[in-house]
């Protein structure tokens, strides 16, 4: 009995690509499950895993890293990836399958759960008890935790982002890299990404990786009233992020949205202006190091949850701040 973790790579910015933070979190979480250890499976990477990935696996106490170097799998195809994960399950005999609570993690795991006709728990945050297995997971956008039983032959769960902080194992390992061979059928590759198109005007990895995010909500009052927030983001070398109401109203594009159904950010500073701080927005910004709210309502949840707040009209406060910063 062991745990198998579907791990994902970080979008390779600069330097050698490695496993994502979510992957490290999930591996850390996996060590809380019983059995003979943690194995990992990495799909979509052609060629042998690099030094950085191996070092991360070693640190996380991974015993076997299953890989498939099949060139057909380089472009994402959830069902085909699920076949590789499934092959990893067969070889390792794992009784638990985990992945990150990411679009890819949830999608691939759902395929594996469907293939085996077993339940899957999405966005698990912690283990309540081991035998029989009970976990708590985020529902209603993170406002509520649901306790569910995950008994049975194979327990499948995705782990919510930030459920645990990534931590090195007390027992680092010397991971073996093992090729998994799968016979893919054409049906496994029907829903495969044909092509990718880069987004004009930057990408959300800029928002997700920004050290300062100026958040803008409905309180801004209109699509043509973003100048001060944009100027401040520029002055601080950061990005603008927005609430869902702002994208729903068509004031800004969806890729700037922060929250449960947008990006999760963790900047040094999140300056949330005219944002009420609904739980679904909070889900995307709560791991910012410092949060400052600018809001006309001193009782807005964003204000009470923030570290600092300015009570006032953002259209007065931001220009005055820009003046002050020079």
């Amino acid at each position: 009995m062991s745990v198998l973790v579907l791990v994902e790579m970080e979008d390779p910015g600069q330097g050698e690509a490695g496993l994502s933070v979510v992957a490290e979190e999930t591996l850390t979480f996996a060590r809380g499950l019983p059995g003979e250890g943690v194995h990992a499976v990495l799909v979509g990477q052609v060629g042998q895993p690099g030094e950085r990935v191996l070092a991360q696996c070693r640190e996380q106490g991974v015993r076997t890293l299953f890989v498939s170097t099949d060139a057909q799998l380089e472009r994402y195809a959830a069902l085909a990836w699920a076949r590789v994960v499934d092959a990893g399950l067969q070889v390792s005999g794992a009784a638990y399958l985990l992945g990150g609570g990411t679009p890819c993690g949830n999608e691939v795991l759902a395929h594996v759960a469907a293939i085996h006709d077993v339940p899957m728990a999405a966005n698990v945050v912690h283990i309540v008890q081991l035998d029989p297995l009970e976990v708590e997971r985020q529902v209603v956008g993170g406002a509520v935790l649901e306790r569910i039983g995950l008994g049975g032959q194979l327990a499948v769960a995705s782990v919510a982002g930030h459920a645990v902080a990534p931590a090195p194992s007390a027992e680092p390992t010397q991971p073996t890299v093992e090729q998994v061979a799968v016979e893919l059928t054409p049906a496994d590759l029907v829903a495969q990404v044909r092509r990718s198109e880069a987004r004009e005007g930057g990408d959300t990895s800029a928002l997700a990786g920004a050290s300062v995010v100026v958040g803008v909500g409905r309180g801004v009052g209109g699509a043509d009233r973003f100048a001060a927030a944009e100027a401040l983001a520029e002055r601080l070398g950061g990005s603008v992020g927005v609430s869902r109401v702002v994208t729903s109203l068509g004031w800004r594009p969806h890729h700037e949205q922060v929250g449960q159904t947008g990006s999760r950010i963790s900047p040094d500073l999140y300056l949330a202006c005219g944002i009420s701080g609904a739980i679904q927005h909070w889900a995307g910004c709560s791991s910012s190091r410092t949060i400052i709210a600018v809001n006309t309502d001193e009782e807005a949840p964003m204000v009470t949850k923030a570290r600092y707040a300015v009570i006032g009209d953002m259209h007065e406060v931001l220009p005055a701040l820009l003046d002050e910063l020079g």
């Binding site: 979008d11 999405a122 509520v144 997700a208 204000v303 949850k305 570290r307």
Partner: protein, 256 residues
């Protein structure tokens, strides 16, 4: 002609404060009201567009009790042509059960001569957020599926599906029939016109039996997280706070 089935779920409105019922095993939507998720509103909008261009029809389906007719009518009001309710208590159905019941309804309709080229669902339900009904349904129907679709166009029996990623967009091309789960952000939900509202009132709701024995959702309990204790320091009011705010930004080391 592209006929589309869209699955919508009645869920408590959770944009405000969330309260549980007395038993603590379900979210109480009596005060906040009920809605469908924005993902599903976008799915309806995509379906209406695709069917409209090709002279096809949009059918909306919900598994639930009598009250989920409200969400079905809301979808008809913005352009769906027909509505089906699978009569069951949604809370007793796990995501696998819901998928099986929808698959059974699709087969039942097919046996009666109505088939769907495309079945759309939300990427995840706003309440239970299971992230799986669409994928399980695709397996049961032996159809290809893409998750997280933001726009879909159909031409010559194939669907072009686009989904957003951190760096841009990925594009899929699927032969029909297919399943897709929709994520908000690619299209705007539609708003009802008066004529739509009138049609919604008159459209008959077809009721089907679930056709499966539910295995349940494994739920053992719910709890609402208490809000963290406030430790906010108010730096001041209006423009008068600017000096102190700038000072805090410098202390945080974010001013270059």
């Amino acid at each position: 002609m592209t006929d589309v089935l869209v699955c919508v779920k009645r869920v408590p409105d959770a944009s405000g404060e969330v309260v549980l019922n007395e038993a603590g095993d379900a979210v109480d939507g009596r005060y906040a009201g009920y809605t469908m998720s924005e993902h599903e509103e976008c799915a309806v909008a995509i379906a209406v567009e695709i069917a409209g261009e090709s002279g096809g029809e949009v059918t909306v389906l919900s598994l639930g009790q009598e009250d989920c007719v409200e969400q079905l009518r809301a979808a008809v009001a913005v352009g769906a042509h027909a509505a089906v309710r699978i009569d069951a208590q949604a809370d007793g159905f796990g995501p696998g059960d819901v998928a099986a019941a929808i698959a059974s309804a699709v087969r039942e309709k097919e046996a009666g001569g109505t088939s769907y080229d495309l079945v759309l669902l939300g990427n995840d339900a706003a309440d239970t957020g299971d992230h799986q009904v669409g994928i399980r349904l695709a397996h049961l129907l032996a159809r290809p599926v893409v998750a997280g679709a933001q726009t879909i166009t159909v031409a010559e029996g194939r669907a072009e599906v686009r989904a957003g990623t951190a760096t841009g967009t990925v594009v899929y091309e699927l032969p029909l029939p297919a399943v897709a789960t929709v994520l908000e952000g690619g299209v705007q939900p539609r708003y009802p016109a008066i004529t739509g509202r009138m049609r919604a009132r008159k459209t008959p709701i077809e009721v089907l039996a679930p056709g499966v024995e539910p295995r349940g959702n494994g739920r053992l309990g719910l709890r609402v997280l208490p809000p963290p204790e406030s430790q906010v320091e108010v730096l001041g009011h209006g423009t008068g706070a600017a000096v102190r705010l700038a000072q805090v930004l410098r202390e945080l080391g974010v001013v270059r």
